[in-house]
Subunit: 192 residues, 2 copies
Amino acid sequence: MDMMRNPGRRTILADAAVHVLAQQGSRGLTHRALDDDAGVPRGTSSNFFATRDSIIDAILVRIGQRLAPDPVVHAGLAGQAPGKKLFTAYMKDIVHRLTSDRDAALALFELRLEATRRPHVEEAITAWLRAGLADDVALNTRMGLPGGEQEIALFHYAINGFILDQITVPVKPGVNRDEIIERFVQLLLHSE
Amino acid sequence: MDMMRNPGRRTILADAAVHVLAQQGSRGLTHRALDDDAGVPRGTSSNFFATRDSIIDAILVRIGQRLAPDPVVHAGLAGQAPGKKLFTAYMKDIVHRLTSDRDAALALFELRLEATRRPHVEEAITAWLRAGLADDVALNTRMGLPGGEQEIALFHYAINGFILDQITVPVKPGVNRDEIIERFVQLLLHSE
DNA sequence: GTTCGATCACGACATCCGTAGTGATTGGAG
DNA sequence: CTCCAATCACTACGGATGTCGTGATCGAAC
């Protein structure tokens, strides 16, 4: 009864899980809430995700998919000349993807806290974060820019804090997000 | 039946609430969990916090107390000469307080996400964050250092992202926290 | 020592949850 | 068309939860 097939419905339910986790929090993440949110008969999600843990696993996978770089934007930028401007454009795209898919970003922060108590989640998120860091380090050097892993890590701390602020409780509402990114790139990666 | 008196027991239960929220998450934050964690008979916390909402209110208040600046450290620093070094020392104290009282810091991040769905929590945290920002802006200018609200806001984004990383899923385990603070101060506030 | 309100321990109850079933339905292979 | 396994809708149930009520106990004022 793994209900591995019918990937369409499974994805719909996984998206509903992301939505519910983001909107109702970990406390509201129940099988029945998934069913209601997805508009399917109650009991359906139990057929796809037998336990609550498997719901969380599905969210983990789904968020990974939804927050992956947009190949269209990626391709569009690939043709341009490498340099600070292009690197900044990549970073803006990352932040834009996180702030526009608010549910996925919120759910990711929920999972970060969940990682505190679930080793399985911690492993997955650690791997995801390390990969993202390695990618950006490689991108930065490929662009011929100064700064190694340490500097990119600082940059990631800053960007994550900024996204958390924007998505939850903004200290300064109405800031220009692209401008913030530009300043972080300028100050953290090109100030020496 | 507000059980306003006996502040000792109320504080014990509030601390238990912070502990449970940090360790078990929003899902585990129940009256019975509070009672067990505090070692009091089951049903006790219902006498102090009639509804679950009032538990959250109590956590909000308690975190505000626990994360307030240490007057001892504050007094010790007040005697020194103003300048970048002293400002950095203040910032290290703030980060140290957040990373050493891990439960309070974790609970604060939980509440940040809870603020998404509870207007009451959002107001409280917004006020808290704005006050912290204003304080640091005032401190910075009092130290005769360059940088206004914008720069301090960037700094707060970065610090919060760093603390979240350290407390949940560190990308780079074993980093020197004070060194990170120093670099953020140097790069974000003194690079021009 | 008696009294009385504050404080507390404990139980009751409707509701919801996770999980595991049990048949109905479906759609393609033969 | 027939059949059969995959897919699905729905139910059942032990357990946990939020909330409210009801006495017991305590401690200070008189």
